[in-house]
């Protein structure tokens, strides 16, 4: 028998250890899952955790997927730390991609390389506009930001569909719902030959650094978090809750829009109805598994990216459904939530004898 006992102080050890334990449990459950599906668990594990880092090319692909996840999660961390629940990063990602795509479509043979900057800024602006809608409705009408931001995801998908089925459809595209392929000049510059990793990775890492500075070294970041942790204390201090709301949503919207721009002007290269790949939702898991901490989210973004690639590989190599990715993501989040109990509580084992003696 064991029981939970409240700790006098939250455990430092377990706040770091809990994600690791959660990962270990996810791996064990994953192995059981593979075995139950009639596959070799060792091989299944290798596909998820070894294949994505085996070769430089595979590592590059890992980074390609980790980049948008990290960029979005960094923005979401600002939101969640200030107790603003933006669940609609996916929609902001899509609108960011649409704005960025709109700029990219303007390019022709004579366009200069600086257009990349314009594309990225357009993406950020698009994401901000979409998140700004949520902020406006919350600010003016006290509409719940969880519902509004989530619903706007589906509106964003419709906007994208309208454009690629309608005005922006490629006339030479055999009537497929897609835009023209963007000019090569609009491609986000790559870091090296032979890999699809772009400067987006650098932007993401700089973003992580910037977030760390903002959260832990500036008064504005402090004020932002006080609003989330103790609203009455923020009011007492004179930190504006409206400002915190707008900051949180504009930052996270901008980040998600930036990720959208990096995707359409990077690996995708055109607008299609398949731009929304679920990064906006997966980034919520990235943010929480990473403890809403910039460094933690770098690791969790890579981990989540592994699950994406692992899921695809499991489909092609083991003949398992791709939705395995979602299963692993969900498992990780659930085990993490369970393991987090250990931060505030300790397990105490009691012998059956003592239990009998107790009333």
């Amino acid at each position: 028998m064991f029981k939970l006992e409240a700790r006098p102080q939250p455990s430092k050890f377990w706040s770091m250890g809990s994600p690791l334990l959660a990962l270990a449990i996810t791996v064990v459950i994953g192995m059981v899952l593979f075995a139950a599906l009639g596959k070799d668990p060792a091989k299944g594990l290798a596909i998820f955790f070894w294949e994505p880092i085996k070769t430089p090319y595979a590592l590059g692909e890992l980074m390609v997927k980790a980049t948008p996840l990290l960029v979005i999660a960094l923005g979401l961390a600002v939101c969640f730390r200030s107790n603003v629940w933006n669940i609609g990063a996916e929609g902001q990602f899509v609108i960011g991609a649409v704005f960025a795509g709109g700029v990219a479509l303007l390019a022709d043979k004579t366009t200069d390389g600086w257009i990349v900057i314009a594309i990225l800024l357009a993406g950020i602006f698009g994401g901000m506009v979409w998140a700004g809608l949520t902020a406006l409705l919350r600010d003016k009408f006290n509409a719940n930001e969880i519902l509004v931001s989530l619903m706007l995801v589906y509106v964003a998908d419709m906007v994208l569909s309208y454009l690629v089925y309608g005005p922006w459809k490629d006339p030479a595209g055999y009537n497929f719902p897609q835009s023209k392929t963007f000019e090569a000049i609009t491609q986000i510059p790559r870091l090296m030959q032979g890999s699809r990793v772009s400067i987006g990775l650098l932007i993401a890492l700089l973003g992580a650094l910037g977030l760390w500075v903002f959260l832990f070294r500036t008064r504005a970041g402090f004020a932002q978090q006080v609003g989330g942790l103790a609203p009455a204390a923020a009011r007492y201090a004179g930190f504006s809750s409206r400002r915190a709301l707008w900051t949180a949503l504009l930052v996270s919207g901008g980040a998600a829009g930036l990720a959208g721009a990096l995707e359409v002007a990077g690996p995708i290269g055109q607008l299609t109805p398949y731009v929304p790949a679920g990064y906006g939702f997966a980034a919520i898991i990235v943010a929480f598994v990473g403890r809403l901490h910039p460094v933690g989210m770098v690791f969790s973004a890579v981990l989540m990216s592994m699950f994406y690639i692992g899921g695809e590989l499991a489909q092609s190599r083991l003949g398992l459904p791709k939705s395995l990715t979602g299963v692993f993501q969900g498992l990780l989040l659930f085990t993490l939530l369970a393991c987090d109990t250990l931060i505030a509580y300790r397990l105490r084992f009691t012998s059956p004898l003592a239990v009998k003696g107790a009333p």
Binding site: R219, V226, A237, G238
Partner: protein, 514 residues
């Protein structure tokens, strides 16, 4: 020989960080009012929770009416006839008063019946409360009334009261004591937890003193003096405060007929509140909680800027529309009543909590100088003798008294021109309370204007130069402390400072006598 109502023997309870009770024994006779005296943190509350079944002891036995009992939960305690009024309320914020009371009773009664009996009990004991109000709209004092009524409704054999009088007017305390004495005479035993010595000496015929989780004395408080009880409780007497005569200087805070409609529907409208606080004086505002203190303080601190700009003036400047940070620049600092969640962010370290009101360690561009911040926190911890695990200890890891010392210290350290303090020593142990009051007086002597809002009359009489009373959103005229008496202030607490009203009452009294 009578069988004791309650007998505790060798109770021990250990928590991970502290031994709350160590070998505690206690006997309560039927119809006896028994005091449990001790500072905050002496283990009184834990001991009562053990009796009430919400905490299980690690060791020791409990006998009720001569029979050994194992009380597993509060339901069993209530079934035995034990009822408790907690110091920290166990009420559901979203439910109404009646629903909360109903939850604690057995389910044979309908909500309507409970509502009716609440109204009856409430009027019987003068505990004014509307059963239909949601609890989250009640003030602290009103919540305690709900707790007291809830306990009385179970017709208990043993009633435990944990610091019940801290939110009552002196007259209401008198009334409560009448009720308690009546209950005792009917055979109900009372366990009365307090650190207020005069109350214990008035009410109780037996007393067990706790210090650091151990029993340090059993006595009859009516045969003891305050000094001897206090010595048992804290091991030494707190030093008496020195109150120097000092001429007040220029007007720092001027409130001109402040009228402010309530912000939430169960709040209080402020009506024509007018007062002055001058440099070098301490002005106190007495009153039962829920009479507009909260609203007045929000308006004074800048958390509520809806009043007309001229209604509040600081050094002659219109300040009513200024936000809290703007007012702090004028030298107005404020210590709120709620330490955790308002005065400090519970999960953040002490150093970071400085930045709620202080900008000394913040550079021009908003950059936080961590080293300077920690040094500042360390200096405040040292200067105000705060017991804390260091400048980065989470605010919630400190005891109430130490956190209060830190918050008061944070504001005093800012060299304020006007310090506004709400409930400076609520739930703070005797030693820390004396220290905080001393600091407030030192600040006054240094020429700062101080406004203290408190429900503890003793405290106000101890530190204030002048007193106001707030009742139903209106503020009485001020009275010099030398002229004020407890009974006068108590009358004013019911809103009776108007001369005509006073005369009218006096005439009626005469008529009755005639």
């Amino acid at each position: 020989m009578t069988i004791p109502r309650l007998q505790l023997a060798h109770i021990t309870k250990r928590y991970p960080a502290v031994v709350a009770n160590s070998d505690v024994s206690l006997t309560v006779q039927p119809g006896e009012s028994h005091a449990v005296l001790g500072e905050n943190g002496a283990g009184k509350s834990t001991l009562m929770k053990i009796i009430y079944g919400s905490v299980k002891p690690d060791d020791g036995t409990v006998m009720f009416n001569g029979k050994p009992v194992r009380i597993r939960n509060p339901q069993e305690a209530r079934a035995l006839g034990i009822s408790m009024v907690f110091q920290h309320f166990s009420l559901f914020d979203t439910l109404t008063v009646a629903e909360n009371v109903w939850l604690g009773l057995d389910k044979s009664l309908s909500l309507n019946q409970v509502t009716h009996s609440i109204t009856t009990k409430a009027s019987e004991y003068g505990l004014d409360i509307d059963p239909a109000r949601p609890v989250h709209t009640l003030s602290v004092g009103e919540m305690q009334r709900v707790e007291i009524i809830r306990s009385l409704l179970t017709n208990p054999q043993l009633l435990i009261l944990d610091e019940p009088t801290s939110v009552l007017t002196p007259q209401a305390v008198e009334k409560l004591f009448v009720v308690l004495k009546k209950l005792a005479s009917e055979g109900c035993s009372i366990l009365y937890i307090s650190h207020k010595l005069h109350e214990i000496r008035e009410l109780c015929s037996a007393c067990t003193v706790l210090r650091g989780g151990k029993v340090t004395g059993v006595c009859n408080p009516q045969e003891e003096s305050n000094a001897s009880l206090s010595k048992l409780m804290i091991g030494a007497e707190p030093p008496a405060l020195e109150h120097h005569e000092r001429a007040a200087g220029q007007v720092v805070l001027q409130v001109n007929n402040l009228n402010l409609a309530r912000e939430d529907q169960f709040g209080v409208d402020l009506v024509d509140v007018a007062m002055q606080v001058r440099a070098g004086e301490v002005v106190g505002i007495a009153g039962v909680s829920g009479n507009g203190q909260k609203e007045l303080l929000y308006a004074l601190s800048g958390e509520d800027c809806r009043a007309d700009a001229t209604m509040i003036q600081v050094f002659g400047q219109d300040a009513a529309r200024m936000g809290p940070d703007h007012r702090r620049k004028l030298g107005v600092h404020f210590v709120p009543e709620e330490r955790l969640g308002r005065g400090a962010v519970p999960t953040m370290g002490l150093a970071h909590n400085l930045m709620l009101t202080r900008t000394d360690a913040i550079g021009a561009s908003g950059w936080i100088h961590t080293k300077a911040l920690e040094a500042q926190a360390k200096a405040i911890i040292a200067r105000f003798h705060v017991k804390a695990g260091g400048p980065n200890a989470a605010a919630k890891s400190l005891s109430g008294g130490n956190l209060q010392k830190y918050i008061v210290g944070r504001e005093i350290d800012a060299d304020p021109k006007l310090l506004i303090v709400s409930q400076p020593t609520w739930g703070v142990d005797v030693g820390a309370a004396a220290q905080i009051r001393g600091e407030i007086l030192a600040l006054r002597d240094a020429g700062c204007a101080v406004l203290v809002v408190s429900e503890e009359l003793d405290e106000l009489f101890e530190i204030c130069d002048r007193l106001h009373v707030i009742a139903k959103g209106q503020l009485s005229p001020s009275i010099d402390r030398a002229k004020a008496t407890v009974s006068l202030i108590g009358e004013w607490m019911s809103g009776l400072w108007n001369a005509e009203v006073q005369n009218h009452l006096a005439q009626e009294a005469d008529n009755v006598q005639a």
